[in-house]
Amino acid sequence: MTAYLAIFKQFILRALAREKLRASITVLGISLGVGVAIAIRLANASALESFRAATDSIAGETSIQIAGTAGRFDEMLLADLGWLRAYGQVSPVITGFAKIEPGTEGVDSKTGAAFRGTFLQVLGVDVLRDWMLRRYRLLRVSENGPEPTARELLTLLADPQSVVLTEQFARRHGIPIGSRIALLAGDARRDFIVRGLLLDEGPARALQGNFALMDIAAAQLAFNRIGLLDRVDVKLKRGLDINAAEAEIGGRLPVGLTVLRPETGYGQVEKMISAFQFNLSALGSIALLVGLFLVYNTVSISVITRREEIGALRAVGGGRLLVLALFLSEALLMTIVGTVFGLVLGRLMASVAVRVTATTVETFYIASAATETIARHSLGSIDILLAFALALTLALVAAAVPALEASRVRPIEAMRGAERLRRAFKPSTKQLVISLALFALGYGFSWFGPVNNLPIFGYLAAVALMFGGAFLVPNVLWLSCAMTGRWVARVMGRAGVDCMLASANLRAAIPRVSISVAALAVALAMMVAVSIMIGSFRETVSYWVGETMVADIYARPLTRSSTTDEGEISELAIAAAKADPQVAAVYPFSTQQLNYQGEPIVVGAGDFETFLKYGRLLFKSPANPRDEIQAAIGRDSVTVNESFALRFKKRVGDDIELSTAAGAHQFRIVAIYYDYSSSRGWAVMDQTTYARHFPYARPTSMSLYLEPGADAAEVIDRLSRAVSGGSQVLFATNGALKREVMRIFDSTFAITYALEVIAIAIAAMGVITTLIALILERRREIALVGFLGATRSQIRRMVVIEAFLIGGVSQTIGVLIGFMLSMVLIYVINVQSFAWTIQFHFPLGFLIQSSVLILGVTAVAGLYPAARATRIDAVRFAREE
């Protein structure tokens, strides 16, 4: 072993030290690849982890939960649930999110700035009943005082203006006991007094301490749910089987109530974001693979440039196994170093990844808590072990081929002059056939449906297409070289000889350079595909926004945003809007989340009369359903969005069963509309139907249609003043909202652009290192050309033309495969992941621009290898001859 390490040091480490630039590029590429993969893994994990942690903290010792089939339910039903006490401890719950209002006393302890709106998860409970289900530990008033009891906590919360915050939150924001805070729940602003602080246990741990406890009556008032409950939590008696109890209780519940497990919400969220996370992971994997391609490249270059040294090592007695081990060790060493840097980089990039995913996913937990979670998250030993295991395994696979080639170098190659002559590459029918077969396979895969709602076959189709493109590379390179050498050289005047030499060199090097070109082509193909997909998507969304967002003003409660689903609009705000002389029509809209076939959907409602007169949707089926929607007013009919129809395989005329306050009920689908505002399924009904089946739900937003000539800004100003004090509503003009929609759209895809740039950068590094390798391998030929009278400019041009050819072939194949991949992305992966129809749009301008850029970048990338080529000493070559 000692002897091996000594040989490794002399033969490999010294060589790496000589080629610092090449080694650094490889390590950097691996770091980037590992970093991106880790960042995405951490982002995905933290997103769900924060939600799971919050769910577990708040659930406490709750075994099962009773909830309304249509959301909230009348608290009078609780009187009929007295028999539940036989099963265990029962605690009714009001829960929701509230925002701390500006103007609240307190400053941020980190920045010292006046405190501004953070969301709190609010739990409203009967403390005496809830004490057995959740662990509440109050901060002791004095050092030696006794532990506060449930009664003392109840006393603290007796006043409807009382609230208990967490010690963590209070410390962070400098809020002492006794201070006043203003909470915004829905659009209502209410003042509260902080009566106590909870220590970091139980529900106080949820969302990094962003938790508030109230008496249930105070919560009902705060959230405008007088007479309603959100759920009843049950802690089963010891010894009772949970499954049996669940079944029994479920069988005894009255219509309108259902039994759930606390972790149900977690499962729903996991499903909701799984497609997004899967797509993100797939993109991240590409960065890792492209990074590891550099390992292949570097080991290949080592072997190419050191054939004579390897021959000498073999000549003096080194065996094949020794040579194999040396080059594999080289790969492992670079991968270990790259992975260490990659882990650090990944941790840094994770925060960015989480922030970006937060704008995409529609759950508050993930938006804010994930950001907090990742800020505190250090890489676990599992993350580190996984990173090393994966990277090292892939590195061994990547390095295996060149290392085996090295082990086959014969001792005779230590003699000068051996192996100088090579046969030129000839076009390969076999590779063409493989390529076409892979394209056919990709096409075949694209016909398969999703597996567990994941587009597995879609990704297999994409992989098949990418490999098909890779197998095209040698033949396309040959063709490009032949055309350049034969035709282009003739019209290039003095530069014709440079073209001739470049094309001849590249043609001979096809077996060597194909892998680099394939990697760059694949990276470019992904960029082209994603660009076409995003471009098409953007055009579709932009058109959809233009066609469907026709109200003049949109209003929502301040607590409702792109990432929070909380809050209702008060009657005061609606009445103020209706009373405004310049408002022609008001369209309040209600939404709530329900379960449908185990997945979360949204049920919405609006006044169909108003919609028919003022509103607009783009319908998939039928094309113009005015009559159907008119007929749906007051009836048990719904329109569903395309996501719903595709996900649950429903068509116009089908019936769906929704859980209402009175139990399950059938609704007929009368139309399907296009909807890009959400990837969840939506079912929308007329408001009178909704009021009948969901009596406790209230409007969550409203659209205002103004009289002709009315100034939207003026109306907003008027309405804001009219509702201020009693209601906190955010008004936005049509233009502002459209801009916001497109901004969210663009920020959602920012991460994909970043990943693509990283993948291309890594592949471009591969091109540079490959060109350098080729130059080193043919230094004798380059010296000879110099010897025969070529100027430095000619030699430089020759190498740059080679780089240009590489870029041209990569981009050509990249565009071709990218186009095919975009079809898979748009018509298969996207549909199966998010159930959206995207209208294909070919961004010709972008593709021309990117092609020019890529050609320029690869030509520039050729400058460094070209400079090295000009430094080859023809005199020294002649002397060696």
Partner: protein, 225 residues
Amino acid sequence: MPILVVDNVHRTYDGDGRAVSAVRGVSFDAETGSFISLMGPSGCGKSTLLHIIGAMDRPTRGSVSLGGVTFDSLSEEALASLRRKKIGFVFQFFNLLPTLTVAENVALPLMLDGARHSQARLRAGEMLARVGLSGRTTHFPAELSGGEMQRVAVARAVVTQPELILADEPTGNLDTDNGTEIMNLLAELNRELGLTIILATHSSDAARYASRTLQMRDGLIEHPE
């Protein structure tokens, strides 16, 4: 007037603090159309001298002039131009570009000098015919025998109609028959085209083709004129 004048050329290399003199004051002339062999054992400096004469290396002292043009005052670009237009090389190991066909290898010096593709190809064809390889124009070097490769190298060396041919052990990598063939070819070109040839060799058989032999030893010409 001699086509080539080598005047008191020295070449010293500095290595590890010790100066090594490969050429220690060599002077001679070559008339147009002469065939001169430089003979001497390995390490005597004949290849170094050839490199200096071929404008591949600069002397530490002394000067070389070809066709009245002295090398000392020329820039690197000018020397490269000189090599393209006025000097042809034939190496021991042929040194053909393996990625170019036979015709392309021969045409290369012309094309490097800016000749049109068609003209370069035409001229290359003529030279290949002259050396008896017109049937191999589209082949790659890997498909040729040693003797054929060296004939291609000779064709490449003369395609630009240079003033001087420098041949460094041209038969060193060939068997006797092929070696004889190459020497006969060089002698023919010398006679028919009036090419001035300087041949570095340690083979007395090869040296016999020259009209004059200069013996080198330890960086000096023995019995200088």
